[in-house]
Symmetry: C2
Subunit: 248 residues, 2 copies
């Protein structure tokens, strides 16, 4: 082993795999589990995690390691939309205050939405969404709101990947999705009724840049049998419009 030249690229790939091996709910992982999840040989796991601990990207937790606070700090600077998250926070807080439901801020990445911020409301269901989490765009109100205000190529990418069913009423027919997106473009609000999961209803509105293209979307989510989305959708739309104006 000593004779072989280590490839920077392989080391970078292994480090990325180790950092990416942690899942929500994991507290700390041992070398065996990391080796199993990443395919990196256990001896290399030991060596690399040692280096990453030295660099502060991982922290020791007994004989295991966990993601370090330094990664949280770096992560806060990451993502092209940091300014968006900071600017959106008061609008999300106000929307939660006004509706008592959970509010989401999301961006589109490929065929999925990524949640950049979530503020849970006292009247809302305990949704499994989490900040930094992903979900198929076509099955969410935020996803549809963004798709309706994106170039055609963006929608084609989503359709080409196939519209998987993730909830009782997920839209899986391309034609149906296209028609709904046209309506969303006219109204400025997207709805989701049990398309991402059972019993949940959402209303979302896009955050637009100066060219009218969606850079993100905000939504409120509530129990289908409790929230009247048509009644709260003006609040979502107002917040999205205000946030769009407030952004550079």
């Amino acid at each position: 082993m000593c004779a072989a030249e280590r490839d920077d690229g392989m080391t970078a790939a292994r480090i990325a795999a180790l950092l990416g091996a942690f899942r929500p709910g994991d507290r700390a992982l041992g070398a065996s589990e990391l080796a199993r999840r990443t395919g990196v040989p256990k001896s290399s796991v030991h060596r690399l995690t040692g280096h990453l601990v030295t660099q502060g990207l991982l922290e020791r937790d007994g004989t295991a390691v966990r993601l370090g606070l330094r990664l949280f700090e770096i992560g806060q600077l990451a993502g092209r939309e940091r300014g968006l998250v900071d600017a959106a926070r008061p609008y999300l807080a106000d929307l939660r205050e006004a509706t008592r439901n959970t509010v989401h801020l999301a961006v589109l990445e490929g065929t999925e939405v990524v949640y950049l911020d979530i503020v849970r409301g006292p009247d809302a269901p305990a949704l499994p969404s989490r900040i930094g989490g992903r979900f198929p765009a076509h099955a969410t109100a935020v996803g549809k709101a963004i798709l309706a205000h994106s170039p055609a190529s963006v929608l084609e990418t989503v359709l080409a990947a196939g519209l998987t069913r993730v909830g009782p009423r997920t839209i899986t027919a391309p034609g149906l999705l296209r028609r709904q997106l046209t309506r969303i473009r006219d109204e400025g609000v997207a709805y989701e009724r049990e398309e991402s999961g059972v019993g949940v209803t959402c209303a979302a509105s896009p955050v637009l840049d100066a060219t009218g293209r969606a850079r993100a979307a905000i939504s409120i989510s509530g129990w289908s049998n409790r929230v009247r989305v048509e009644r709260v959708s003006p609040a979502v739309r107002t917040a999205a419009l205000a946030l769009s104006r407030a952004l550079p």
Copy 2:
């Protein structure tokens, strides 16, 4: 240590330096700037950033690179207190709603507090604090709230590092800090009056674990000439007590 292990360590150190080179406000950095900030030779910067782009940890932005959304996602899973942040969110939102001031959630790391969450209030000053940011613990209400409920060794570490002045009224005398911490332990609330900066006043209360040790603190921050901290401190204390009970 053989050549391969030494190379791994250097590559890991360089990767950590590159990821850590980004500062708040940076959008994207070019190879020259990254080389300047990290001391990594420019050719190595090119090669390593290429690998990190392949791994999704960095993203290309023209000829420059920025921290990737993947790092934001990983960062969200990082830090020993992820459960705390998620559990605290509704309490912070409620406190903001009740006081209309900015609320902070922070933990102690060595001699500094790290802000894990911030929700800005409509009546509050535009504070420079940001999520993932750090600040000297002795000069903040959250820091003093945590120090007052931490083992003596924790305070000694802070005192040994020296109490730097960061605001007009920062406490720089160890005896004065000790006396204030004793009072904070009795009352359950810490105040900060222009100690972290001009014109700002805060009230904070610790989030305690089952042994009575502070694992974090929450605070509200407002303009010194507008907020009567004594009036809002019961709200902070109530929120902190409720959150302490809600945590496992």
